[in-house]
Amino acid sequence: MTRPLILILLSLSFTTKLASQFVQGNDPLGRPYRPIVGVLNAEVAPGIPAKVAEQISISFTNGLKNLGGAFPPYEVVNKDQLSKAVDMLKRGLPAQELRTTKFWDDMVGAQYLLRLDINSFELGVDEDSIYDEKKKFVRVDRFRVASANLTARLVDVATSKVLMFNNFDASGTTRGFEEFKTQTDSARAIMQLNKQIRAYGNGMIHNVVAGAATITAIHKENKGKAEEVILNNAPIIVPNREDGLHVYAVLKTYTSNGQIFRDAEKIGEINKGKNFQISLRNFEVRKGEKKIAEHFNAGTTLICTAGGFPIGPFAPSEARSSLALQAFKNTAAAPAKVQRILQDILSENAARNPLLLDIVDREIYDLVQKEREMQQQTRSDATQAGISFGSNFFLDIDLLNYSKASTLKYKTITETKPVAPAAKTTSNQPAPATKTDKIAEPGSGKNTKIQNPPTKDKINPSTSSAPAAAPAPAAVEKITKTIPDKYEAKANAKLSVSLVSVQTGEVVFANAYSMSGEGTIAYNKDKFDRVRSEEMAFRNLATTVSGLVWSDIQKSLTPKFQVLAVIETSKNGAETVLVSGGQRSGFSDGMTVELVEVVQEQVDGQKFDRDVVIGEMKITEIRPETSVCKVKNGGKELQVKLDGKARVYCRKG
C-alpha cells in the first residue's frame, strides 16, 4: 500500500521541482510565468466502462503535455494524485523519509484547473464500399468504430472564470479487412480513438495559458534601434524558433473606481533568431526596433506574449460583468444527451465569445475552492486567494419542446453485368480477346470496370450475326436496384432563455427560440446511423440557436465606458480621448458613440441617475483594454466636465 503512494509522492516531488525550475519570477500581476494546469478527474457519464474512461482521460492529458513534440509553455499536473499526496501528508501517514522531503517548499499551486467530461462512448460497426483494384470488384468492408463525445473546460483558479469550454467528438476505427469481430478489433478501435483524443488535447489550451514575459534589457542596440532584447522568461513561452512574440508597451495605468486599466499599445515583434541562447534568453527584434528602444529607455513596461495582450484572468476587475452557467431545465423531458449537447454548445460559444461578459463556473466550483485551500496550506507562491469573480447574472434556459424524426432515404442505382449467352454460336470465328472496357453507369456518375466473358464459347448475342472482322462490343445487362442511401433527420426544439440579475433577481433579457436543424448520415448498416443523424440534426440546431442567443444577449446589454483621459486638445476643447473599453467591448473601428454625463436628479425626494448627452465621438483605435476616440462634437463641454471631475462616459448611440 505504501509503495505506490511513495512513488506518487516521488513523482510529484519531481514534477513540482521541475515546475519550480521554470518559475523564474512573477508576471506583472504576481503570477508565476510558467502556468500550472491541474487536471482533475474526468467526469464520466453513466454506462461508460471505467477502463475506457481511464484510457481516454490519460490520452487527453498526454495530449496536453505534448505541444506538437515541443515543450509546452505550461506544466500539467494530475490533481487527483496531488490531492491524495496532500491528504496523506496532512494525516502524517507516510514514512519518516517522506515527511522530510522538500515537497512543501517545491509545490506550486495550479493556476488553472482542467476537467474532461466524457459524455458518451459508443462501440459499433461501420462499413465502407471499397473498390478492389486487383480483383476488380467492389467489396464491402466492415470495421469496428469507437466514438466518444467529450467536453474539456479550463477554469482559472483565482477568479473561477471559464477560459475555455470545448465540446468535441472523436472516433477511431480498425483498418484491416473485416476487423470487427473480435475483442482485439474493439481494442484497436479504442486505441485509435485514444490517439485522436490525444491529438485533440495537443495544443488545445496553448493559446489560453501561454503566459507572458517582460523585456529586461536591450542586448544589442544600434543607432537608437533595439536589435536584440533579453526576456525574463524566453524559452518557456516560445516553443519554436519561428514563433514570434508581440511586444506591447504599457503606456499608462489608470485606476478608476478601484479598478485598473492598462493603456497598452502593440509596438513590435520579436522572435528567437539565429543567435538565441537559452541561458541568455536573447530575442531578435523583427519589427518596431526604434519604438522598443525608445520605450525601454523611457522605463515603459514592455510585455511580450505569443497571443494577444493578457487580458482576461490577468486583469481581474469589474470591467466586465460575469455570467454563471448552470444546469439547464428540461421541461420537454428530452434525453439527457440532447440536453448536454445544448448546454455544452451554448457554454462553448459563451466562452469563445468573450465580448462584454465573462463566464464563471459554478459546476466545478467546489474543486476550484479545494485547490485554493490547498494552496493556502502549502508554501506555494501562487497568489490565488480571494479574487474570485462573483456572478452578476444567471442564464436561465428551459428546453420547452423537443422532437426529432428521421427517415431512411433510398436511392436507385443501375448496375451493369455481363450477359450470359442465350445459346451457343455456330460461328467458327474466334471470340474477341478478353479485355476490360469502361462503361459509364447511367445516373450514378461513376465508372465501373467490367470484364468481358473470358470464355471462347461466349459471344455477344447482339453481334452473333455480325462480320467476324469487327470486334464486338461487350454485352451487358443493366439492373436497376433500390438500395438504402442515407438517414435524413430533422430536430425541432423550442427553448426559453432568460438572463437573471443575481443582485436584484430581475429578468434583464428574455426571449424564446423555435428552431429546427437537419442532419444526414450515410446508411452504413450500423445500429447507430439513425441515432447519429438525429444527434447531428440537434447539434446543428443547437449551434444555430446558441449563436442567436449570444448575439441577442449582447445586444440587450448597453454598457457605458468611462472617459479616462484627454490625449489631444484644440481650440474646440478635447479633440482625442481615451476610453476604458478595449478589444472585448464590442467596439468597431469608426463606430460612433454618444458622450454622456451621469448626473443625479431628485424626483419627489428620491435620487435618480440621469444620462445627459453632451456630445458625440468616433472610435479611431481599439487597444487591448482601452480605445482612442475622436470627438466629433461637444469637445469644449467635455473638457469642462472632465476638469470638474464629472462622471463622463460614452455609450453606443
Binding site: A385, S496, V502, G505, L557, P559, F561
Partner: protein
C-alpha cells in the same frame, strides 16, 4: 470603467416591478403549455421595456450565488451588492378557461390585493399562433396601464422669450416613453363636489418625446401651450404629463 446600464439602473429604478405567476387552468391537459405561455408573457413584459420582471424560479440559485459571494474567496474579488433584491409591486396572473376557450390575464396590486388591469382573449392553446395573441394581450395591458400614469415634468430645458420649447421629464423608457410618444401636459386642480375635494387634470398643452435619456428621464419638445407651460414653471407650479399616443 464599463458599466452595464441594466445594473446601474437597478439600484435606482423607476420601472414598475412585476412577477408573472405560474398560469392556471381548469383543464390539466392545457397546462402542458403553461410553461411556454408563461415564458411568452415574461418575455413580452421584458421586451416592452417599462417593467422590471422579477424571477422567482431562480431564487434558490440566486441565493446560493449571493451566499457564495460572501465567502472569503471573493474578499478582494468582484461581488454584487447584497440586499438589493427587487420586490414585486404587481403580480400578473393568467387563467385559461378551457370550456370557453378563453385566456384571462390580470394584474394584481401586491399592496392592496386589487386587480388593476385585466384583459382576455379567446384563444386555443393548441393553435400555432397563440404566443402572438399572448404578446398582444400583454402590450394592450401595458399601454393602458402606463397611459394612465402621470409623469412629472421637471423643468424647462430650453426657453424662447416667454415660451417653453423643451422640457425634462421624470420618466424614460421605464415609463414606456419612446422617441415620438405624444404627451398631454396638465396641471392638477382641486374641484369641490358635494363637499368633497376631487383632483381634476386640466390640460394646458401637448408635447412629443424627442430623446429618451435612460429608464428614468426623457426630453420632450413642446407642441402646444408653450406660454402656459412657461408661466406655470415661473410660478413654481407642478406640471405633469401623460401618454396620449405611443
Amino acid at each position: 470603467m464599463l458599466l452595464f446600464a441594466a445594473q446601474s439602473l437597478l439600484a435606482q429604478n423607476s420601472k414598475t416591478s412585476i412577477w408573472v405567476a405560474p398560469l392556471e387552468s381548469d383543464k390539466p391537459s392545457a397546462m402542458t403549455f403553461s410553461k411556454e405561455a408563461r415564458s411568452e408573457i415574461v418575455e413580452s413584459f421584458v421586451k416592452f421595456g417599462s417593467f422590471s420582471v422579477v424571477d422567482r424560479e431562480a431564487t434558490q440559485l440566486v441565493q446560493q450565488e449571493l451566499e457564495l459571494q460572501k465567502s472569503e474567496a471573493f474578499m478582494d474579488g468582484k461581488v454584487v451588492e447584497q440586499g438589493k433584491a427587487v420586490g414585486a409591486e404587481f403580480i400578473a396572473k393568467g387563467y385559461y378557461h378551457s370550456k370557453e376557450g378563453k385566456f384571462v390575464l390580470k394584474i394584481v396590486d401586491v399592496s392592496t390585493g386589487n386587480t388593476i388591469e385585466t384583459d382576455e382573449y379567446k384563444m386555443d392553446f393548441f393553435a400555432a399562433n397563440y404566443r402572438k395573441h399572448l404578446r398582444k394581450m400583454v402590450y394592450r395591458i401595458a399601454n393602458r396601464w402606463l397611459s394612465g400614469a402621470k409623469i412629472t415634468v421637471m423643468r424647462s430645458l430650453e426657453d424662447k422669450g416667454e415660451s417653453t420649447q423643451r422640457v425634462l421629464l421624470a420618466g424614460g423608457s421605464g415609463k414606456g416613453l419612446k422617441v415620438g410618444t405624444m404627451l398631454e401636459v396638465f396641471i392638477i386642480e382641486l374641484e369641490e363636489i358635494d363637499g368633497e375635494s376631487l383632483e381634476r387634470f386640466a390640460a394646458i398643452g401637448k408635447m412629443k418625446v424627442d430623446r429618451v435619456e435612460n429608464a428614468n428621464f426623457a426630453n420632450a419638445k413642446v407642441r402646444s401651450g408653450e406660454k402656459e407651460i412657461f408661466r406655470h414653471f415661473a410660478a413654481n407650479k407642478k406640471l405633469y404629463c401623460r401618454i396620449v399616443q405611443n
